[in-house]
Amino acid sequence: MELIANFPFFSIILCLFSAVICSVLRGRGAKICTVVAESVLAILSFATLWYVHLLEKPVTFMMGHFPAPWGNEIRFGTLEAVMATVFSLILLCAVLGGSKFVNRDIFPQKINLYYVLINLLGAALMALIYTNDIFTGYVFLEILTLTSGGILMIREIGRTTLAATRYMILNLLGSGLFLLGIILMYDITGHLLMANMHASLKVLIAHGSYSLPLTVIVGVMCVGLAIKSGLFPFHSWMPDTYGFATPTSASILSGLVSKGYIFLLVKIMYRVIGIDQEILSVARNILFVFGLCGIVFGSVFALQQNNINRMTSYSSVAQIGYIYMGIGIGGTAGFAAAMFHILAHAITKPALFLANASLIEVSDDSPVFHDLSGAAHRNKTAGVFFTIAAMSMVGIPFFAGFTSKLLFSMASLGHNPAKTGLVLVILAISTILNTLYFIRTVIRIYTKRKGDLPRKFSMRAELPGWIAGVSLAAMNLFLGLNSRPVIELIEKGLLRFQ
């Protein structure tokens, strides 16, 4: 049992080692190495989950030989373990599902480098989830930014390079602001470990000193991470980035990378500042308003698109808005809803992007709606995967999206009547808009054109994609049908998150 306490550290170092090994392998070998590493990562994360669930308290793991105020720490409870398990499974599905398109989109001699980047990204994600040191958080945040820029720009067409430039510029602005926040916080508290920072901040806030600098710090950190995760007014990098990247990259960027930043923000809110502090409420209200704007505008923009990938990207703007809305509602219920939606969206969006790629492939490589007519008849499995994911996005019962919408509305009740009303109205509007653009697409891909026959695919090339699609759909149905244990794990984790 003692050994399992080391697993979070193992999972970070495993990804790093796998990256090193991939760099000397050829394309196919690198892919196999990555798949094996991600599978082991999923097993390690699940074992961690099981361990902390039995232990019923979070574990603090000392990194290196120096104890708390000086050394570095990893800290994990049920919430972190749930996130790590789901994230590693999705990483695995994205790598499997998109491998066919990776071979198409990337120069053969660069494919192993692609898998190096994927592994480094996995390491950075795991470190962001587990770390208890704010500066380590910053360093891995930058590694996450660099690797996500890398998996974007490795597809060498002009628009992808342009999208990568834009993505990097906005992300670097976000990192700069976040670093400013960390530095100011360090200057005020004199610590870098989250627990020690929290202890000194508590004293400072009780005395009422440094109230202006603390407000600035909270604001700067929130804005920095909001830019990086693509909250509404800062969403301009999203459509190009997701629309032109190779499907694996689009799935990982939309499903995991932006969620990593949000998770770090929640961690800072809970563990550094303390969730019941007054200074957070202003920031949370602002995030709430922008989240609501994001939901409406993201859906409206999605409705205007004529390109299936861009439509799916704008739908991500709306979904990020949901998560920030949950953070804004506050309380354990609000945060639990936000965390559940992180999982639901992280499962649904990669399925959509992978299905999109298969549908586009049988429509003469054109993502425009007109050419997609009948695509689901030409590629039946992709049509089914798209429909399942679309139904989850709309919020039809039995799918993950429905449960998270239910959780959001339940969380909004009984706090502030104005907030309750706003949340319910916006949820209703957004459901209508989601239905409009997703059902329109589903009808479009099932409208048969003359001479649409199922294409013949080679079993060998399609099998990984099917495995990924089936597992993503199964996870989606699991979260929709049997959400209670997951919600309980999340709520338990949040209660012990501090």
Binding site: F135, V139, T145, I157, T161, T165, L172, G176, P367
Partner: protein, 122 residues
Amino acid sequence: MRNLINNYEEVFAIVLFGIGFVTLLFHQNLIKKIIGLNIMDTGLYLFLASMGYIYGGDAPIYAENAGFYINPVPAGLVLTGIVVSVSVTAIMLSLSVRLYKRYGTLNLDEIYLEARNKINER
């Protein structure tokens, strides 16, 4: 006002941060954007280093009859930060090279226009 004069290093650092931030956000030329990024990061490192420096303190190396040391942690953070900003700069420069090869200009507005016009290129 007196506070501003007493903490002139920090004030200067924040001014540098602002200059870099605005350049990175609003300038259209990619190379100038990258310069802005570096100015922004330098401002932050100056802020961090000046906060950790204690006047009259020794270098943080153990000696028999030393008085007191300056805080070594910010220096370590600055070193880490410099490594991060060097790698980010390298990636941004390589992206600029690639964009220049393809579009023949470093002005982002012109690149956007040209990319929009090429409709066939998805």
